[in-house]
Amino acid sequence: MNNATNNPSSGAAAVAPPTQPGQPAPYKKVELKSDRPTWCPGCGDFTVLDLYFRLCERRQVTREKITSVSGIGCSSRFPYFVQAHGVHFIHGRAVAFATGLSLSRPDLHVFVFSGDGDAYSIGGNHLEHAARKNIHMTLVVMDNNVYGLTKKQTSPTSPIGFKSKTDPMGAMDTPTNPLKKLISAGATFVARTSHTNPQHVLQMMERAMDHRGFSVIECLSECVEFYPGAFDAANPRKGGQFTLIEEKKKDGTPEDAKRHDPSDEVAAYRLASLPFPGVFGVFYQVNQPAKNDKEKQLIDTARAATSNAPPLAVLQKTFDRMK
């Protein structure tokens, strides 16, 4: 245990794990492979895993700082397959877990991997609040429009008419529109992609990683076992359309006027309302201080008011007033 110092251990003040002397050799993505994925052959989740490896490789994220968190579901098995620090938490609460981790460990960029049931049904309220608080993390939702792990029940994104074990006559409830939900909740980065376009998935992951605050990628990820063909209409190889969002270049050209401004909330909402297969890319992105940064500011002010006194001195002063 340290003696009292002028730098108390803290929740948000920089936490600095030791870095190895000298630069470690760059690693290759194969080194990130861990347990053999237990997913069905052909499952869309494989693509996401592979691209996460590529993201880490490309960015050379410090090995011991890669931290993947998930809830429960097929998609949430993710951390077992990554040779890095990871957590397989409980159903629907990975975002809440990551909130505490992110706030107390400012040195990490936490990635959360989730499914449509995990993120939008049981975890829906946590999503809402992590979004409005702008907690710094990246959430990747592998949306297969079905409950995979529990073997084909209706999910909040299942389209009306989808025949599942819990809706043998066809789903009757209006599905959640994740993008609209996220935009209205105040998420500061909302993107959509599909496992059928790996380059695009990687692009979205990189942009999410560069975003400060709460970034979400809604990634269509086909469940070949319980909902094959769900996303064919978005897959050019199956005769569908994968339409990219053209973002404004701010080049003053007349074409640019028609392009999408990701900071325009209403425009983002309009894009999100397009019928399936809709469009892909960054729907919404704004720069707003992350809660992490606001808390840090609060701490800096409070610490300055104590003249950076060590904890013992601060507590002593408080106790003296209670005598």
Binding site: M1, N2, A4, T5, P8, S9, S10, G11, A13, V15, P17, P18, Q20, E31, S34, D35, R63, E64, K65, V69, Y80, Q83, A84, H85, G86, V87, H88, F89, I90, R93, A96, F97, A98, T99, G100, L101, S102, L103, S104, R105, D107, L108, N125, H126, H129, E295, L298, I299, T301, R303, A305, T306, P311, L312, V314, L315, T318, F319, M322, K323
Partner: protein
């Protein structure tokens, strides 16, 4: 009020004052009358003048106010309970008089406002002192803010009546007034001095506390149980907490939200109790024990996540400031009925640590200890406080902060290639590597709620579940071996042993003291570690004829409460029976003694 003949050192100040060792004062009015302020100032002053003190108050069920009381017991010796009967009753209104006169002891003093209260003067058991408090306050402060000033008039009145330390009280009033504007402060002081000048001694009696010679000389400090917990956690090095507001827990999170930034920490108000416990677990996984807290209904919501922390073996501190349940129950009243959910709540075989503070001072120390236990055993620790401890004010010796205050640096020590997060060691205790820890061979740990092998990865082989279930149990059995056997107060063997936990400790211990003083030996024992239980209890019980467990919960389907049931199960002793009640109030000493008599006859 216990009077004695001891000679006084302040004879000159109050020549006719009766020396006393203990007084119970109850102020009854409406919540808008500011009686809580008076009560708190009295309690704090007592601590500052080396008196022990305990307070109790009722909060009206509605926000808009209503009848409310504040009771303070001040003593030269230790104060264990807030007092069964009242020595001095102050009644502002007729309803205050009618509602509380039954609590006044024979020979007690009733101070009442004759403009508002018409007492039955025929009842010769009491001394009646009519003080037109409203009128005199208006006279003193000139007709404005009378409702605000009446309480300060009363404070002055009581200060004179009990010969309290005037300079200290004035300093405290000035501190209290520092946040208020000058005219309010002036009115406050005028009202206070008018009260002090109104010498009750002319009509009744003045009293003086005998100084306690045995005091160690360490100064006392005064705080509520909720304050004590918040500062205990901070002293222990906790720098992250998350919670959702609920009475009577909320004030702990309010204090921590304001205080933690000064220490570089964060307190998160989460969207619900589930998010709160999950965020705290996330922060703990980050490498530093975090806290979440709540009251009964919130603990029910947290149980699934606590189960994960047990399974994944992550340290965590969970506070439950108990209130009456189930459901919304009695949100502003005390009860000790969450023991079962604390010890057994959740699914699966799910061993966790449960501890309970027995008073305000203990709330401070047990919070520090809980953090240590969570770290040492990599396990969630639930602290069961309750509304009575949380809200009442007590004086206790200033803690030795130098020895107690800790920092909790994250342990990033690089781990070897053979590192396994769930290694099946003899003591079963894991030593986690938080994210950021380099691991040789890049063999990183996964923390898992699925049953796992030593590396944290799930496996089909059922033998893992056998091994890991035993490992999670075994580490708490190791802890049990190290826990101190509770001390027995009173004779080591005999007829009756009273067993208590949490806030039932004070009145239970006082009951034993009273019984011993009356020539009827009785012993008492308080259990702080509720899960695992310390060893040696069976041996202690075997020396008594009757083992009676005093707890504020229902006597249940089979005639004994929640702790009694656990003790019966683990000691196989059918002589263990219960003394229970569910009226939302702490035990009175007489209630316990009456119940003992009824049980053993």
């Amino acid at each position: 009020m216990s009077t004695t003949n001891a000679s006084s050192s302040n004879e000159a100040v109050a020549p006719n004052a009766v020396p006393i060792k203990d007084a119970v004062i109850r102020i009854a009015g409406n919540s808008q009358d500011g009686i809580q302020t008076v009560g708190e100032l009295l309690a704090r002053l007592s601590g500052r003048t080396a008196q022990e003190v305990m307070s109790y108050m009722t909060i009206p069920a509605t926000i808009s106010g209503g009848p409310s009381i504040y009771q303070v017991r001040i003593g030269s010796d230790h104060v264990l309970s807030v007092g069964d009967v009242v020595d001095v009753l102050v009644a502002f209104y007729q309803h205050s008089y009618e509602g509380h006169i039954s609590a006044l002891r024979d020979g007690g003093v009733l101070i009442y406002d004759p403009d508002q209260v018409k007492p039955n003067l025929e009842d010769k058991r009491f001394t009646y002192v009519g003080v037109p408090m409203t009128t005199l306050t208006i006279e003193a402060i000139g007709g404005k803010g009378r409702d605000k000033g009446k309480n300060m008039f009363l404070l002055g009145l009581i200060a004179r009546m009990f010969d309290l330390n005037l300079p200290k009280l004035e300093t405290m009033l000035k501190d209290w007034g520092a946040k208020r504007d000058a005219s309010t402060m002036e009115a406050t002081m005028n009202a206070f001095h008018a009260g002090y000048g109104f010498d009750i001694g002319r009509m009744g009696q003045n009293f003086r506390f005998i100084p306690n010679e045995q005091r160690s000389g360490r100064p006392l400090m005064v705080m509520t149980g909720n304050q004590a917990m918040a500062y205990g956690l901070i002293a222990a090095g906790v720098r992250f907490g998350a919670a959702y507001p609920i009475t009577p827990w909320s004030s702990i999170m309010e204090i921590m939200r304001a205080e933690l930034p000064k220490y570089g920490g964060i307190f998160l108000q989460a969207e619900d109790e589930i998010a709160a416990v999950c965020a705290a677990i996330g922060a703990s996984y980050g490498g530093r024990v975090a806290v979440t807290g709540t009251s009964g209904p919130g603990l029910a919501l947290k149980t699934e996540a606590i189960g994960w922390a047990v399974m994944a073996e992550i340290p965590l501190v969970v506070i439950d400031v108990q209130r009456g349940g189930p459901s919304t129950g009695l949100p502003t009243k005390m009860e000790q009925s969450d023991l079962n959910i604390a010890v057994f709540g959740g699914h699966g075989d799910c061993p966790r640590i449960v501890v309970a503070p027995r008073n305000v001072e203990d709330a401070f120390y047990i919070s520090i200890e809980a953090v240590k236990l969570a770290r040492d055993y990599s396990c969630p620790v639930i602290i069961l406080s309750d509304q009575a401890i949380g809200f009442r004010v007590e004086a206790f010796e200033v803690p030795d902060l130098k020895a107690l205050v800790q920092e909790m640096p994250i342990d990033f020590t690089p781990r070897g290639a053979d590192f396994k997060p769930y290694e099946d060691t003899p003591d079963g205790i894991p030593h986690h590597a938080p994210p950021g820890t380099p691991i040789a061979n890049n063999n990183f740990p996964i923390l898992s709620g699925l049953e796992h092998n030593e590396a944290g990865h799930p496996g089909e082989d059922p033998k893992f579940h056998v091994v890991m279930t035993a490992k999670r149990r075994r580490k708490l059995q190791k802890l049990a071996e190290k826990l101190p056997t509770p001390e027995v107060f009173g004779p080591a063997e005999g007829d009756v042993l009273l067993v208590s936990w949490g806030s039932a400790y004070g009145p239970t211990r006082e009951a034993a003291e009273k019984s011993i003083a009356a020539g009827q030996p009785m012993s008492a024992l308080c259990i702080r570690y509720l899960n695992p239980l310390p060893s040696g209890l069976g041996k202690i019980f075997s020396r008594f004829k009757h083992i009676l467990v005093v707890e504020n919960n229902d006597s249940g389907l089979y005639g004994y409460g929640q702790l009694a049931a656990i003790l019966r199960a683990c000691c196989c002793d059918a002589r263990i029976r219960g003394i229970n009640k569910t009226d939302g109030l702490s035990f009175k000493v007489t209630e316990i003694l009456d119940a003992v008599r009824a049980q053993i006859s």
